[in-house]
C-alpha cells in the first residue's frame, strides 16, 4: 500500500472514530459519577496506548492489520444496506431535542401536528404516551426521546413546558412517533451514509449521514414490541 493510500485510509478511520464518538455522546444514557471516573481512567489508558501505537506507526509507516480489517468492515456495510438505499432515496429530517434524525420516506405514511392531547392507557411504559384518534384511526403515540436517548436523558425534559409538536406516522399508520421540529425532506445516496454493520444494540440506528452528522433511523425497529420496556429498563 502506498503512503498516500495509507494516509487516506487513516483519515477515513479518524473520521469514523469521530462519528462513533459523536453518536455515543448523543445517544448514550447519562452516566453516573462512578461511570464518569471509570471513563476518565479508560480514556487515559487509551491515550497512552494510542501514543505508543502512533510512535510505532511513525517508525514503520506500514499499513496495519487493523486498517485492512476496517476496509473489510466497510465492504460488509454494503451488504447490510436497507433495500431503499440501493438507489437515491428521500428522507425526512426532524429533531428530537437537539438531535437531528433522518427517516426514509418509504417507512412513513405521513406527519401530523401534535397538540399533546392523548388518551392515556393505565400502567403503560414511560415511552408510551397514549392513544390519539385521527381520521377514524387510533394511533399509539410513542415518546421518541425515551426510545432514542433512554430514561436518563429523556426523563430530564419538562414535557409540559416543552411539549412535542409533531408526530410522524409509521407506514401502516398504527404508531406515531412524537418529535419536535420537522426540518426538511432531502435526497440521500448510500455513499453519503456510513452504514452500521452490527445492529445488535440499537437496531433502529442504521447509519449516519457523514457530512451533516445526522442519525438515520429505521422507524419500524424503533416501534417497540411487547415486553420491550423490560429490555429498555424503562
Amino acid at each position: 500500500m502506498s503512503k498516500v493510500c495509507a494516509v487516506a485510509v487513516k483519515q477515513l478511520i479518524e473520521q469514523e472514530l469521530a462519528l462513533d464518538s459523536y453518536l455515543a455522546t448523543m445517544l448514550a444514557e447519562l452516566p453516573s459519577t462512578e461511570a464518569i471516573e471509570e471513563q476518565e481512567r479508560q480514556v487515559k489508558k487509551v491515550v497512552s496506548s494510542a501514543v505508543k501505537v502512533q510512535a510505532a506507526t511513525v517508525k514503520t509507516q506500514e499499513p496495519s492489520i487493523e486498517l485492512v480489517a476496517d476496509v473489510v468492515t466497510a465492504s460488509k456495510a454494503l451488504s447490510i444496506m436497507p433495500k431503499y438505499a440501493q438507489d437515491e432515496f428521500s428522507a425526512l429530517f426532524f429533531k428530537v431535542g437537539n438531535l437531528v434524525l433522518a427517516a426514509p420516506l418509504t417507512d412513513l405514511s405521513r406527519a401530523i401536528r401534535f397538540d399533546g392531547k392523548v388518551t392515556k392507557i393505565p400502567q403503560q411504559p414511560l415511552w408510551f404516551m397514549g392513544l390519539k384518534a385521527e381520521l377514524e384511526q387510533k394511533i399509539g403515540i410513542l415518546n421518541m426521546a425515551y426510545l432514542i436517548q433512554g430514561k436518563s436523558r429523556a426523563g430530564i425534559r419538562d414535557y409540559q413546558q416543552k411539549p412535542f409538536t409533531n408526530v410522524i406516522l409509521t407506514e401502516d399508520g398504527q404508531w406515531g412517533l412524537a418529535c419536535d421540529e420537522l426540518l426538511t425532506i432531502a435526497k440521500l445516496t448510500s455513499e453519503q451514509i456510513r452504514w452500521r454493520t452490527d445492529r445488535k444494540s440499537k437496531p433502529w440506528l442504521v447509519g449516519t449521514v457523514i457530512e451533516q452528522l445526522v442519525v438515520v433511523v429505521d422507524i419500524n425497529e424503533l416501534v417497540p414490541k411487547r415486553k420491550r420496556s423490560e429490555e429498555l429498563g424503562i
Partner: protein, 156 residues
C-alpha cells in the same frame, strides 16, 4: 338484518371518569352506584384497597381505582362515586372520580388497545372505542384484579 344483529351485538357500558380519561364497564356487572359514605380502613391491606363499607349488612371491599391504574391520588368531592360491581369472584366497590352515562356500543366498534407493556400491565383493558370525539377505554372487570389479589380480598 337479524344476522347482522347476531354477528354484531350491541352491549351497554357504564362510563366513568378518572382524571382526564373516560372508562367503560359492562352494565351487566354493575349492581349500583353509591355516593361515598364512611369507608373503614383495613389494617395491613394492600395500597389499592381503600377499606370496607357496609352495604345493607354485607361487607364490600372498596378498591382505589386511581391507585390500581397507576394514577395520582385525588381528594374525594361531590362527584366521587363508588360503583358496586360483580366480578367472577367477588362483589367489590371501585371508587371513581365521577360516573358519566350508559352508552350502547356495537362489538364491531370496539378495537383492541395496543399493549406494549408486559403481560400483567393493562390486561384488564378490553379495548377502546371512539365516542363524542374522545376515546373510551373499556375495562374487563373479571381481569381487574389478579388471582392473588382476589385471594387476598377473601381475607377482608
Amino acid at each position: 338484518m337479524s344476522d347482522e344483529k347476531q354477528n354484531d351485538p350491541i352491549m351497554q357500558w357504564v362510563t366513568f371518569r378518572l382524571g382526564e380519561e373516560k372508562y367503560g364497564i359492562n352494565v351487566m356487572q354493575v349492581q349500583e352506584v353509591l355516593r361515598v359514605s364512611e369507608i373503614a380502613p383495613v389494617p395491613g391491606a394492600p395500597t389499592y384497597v381503600l377499606g370496607i363499607i357496609n352495604l345493607r349488612g354485607n361487607v364490600v371491599t372498596v378498591i382505589d381505582t386511581r391507585n390500581r391504574f397507576g394514577l395520582m391520588s385525588k381528594d374525594q368531592d361531590d362527584a366521587t362515586r363508588i360503583v358496586i360491581i360483580e366480578t367472577d369472584q367477588h362483589i367489590i366497590g371501585i371508587m371513581v372520580d365521577s360516573v358519566a352515562e350508559v352508552v350502547d356500543l356495537r362489538a364491531s366498534d370496539i378495537e383492541t388497545a395496543p399493549n406494549v407493556g408486559n403481560d400483567e400491565s393493562s390486561k384488564y383493558i378490553q379495548g377502546v372505542t371512539s365516542r363524542d370525539n374522545e376515546l373510551l377505554i373499556l375495562v374487563d372487570l373479571n381481569k381487574f384484579l389478579s388471582d392473588e389479589e382476589n385471594e387476598a380480598l377473601d381475607m377482608f
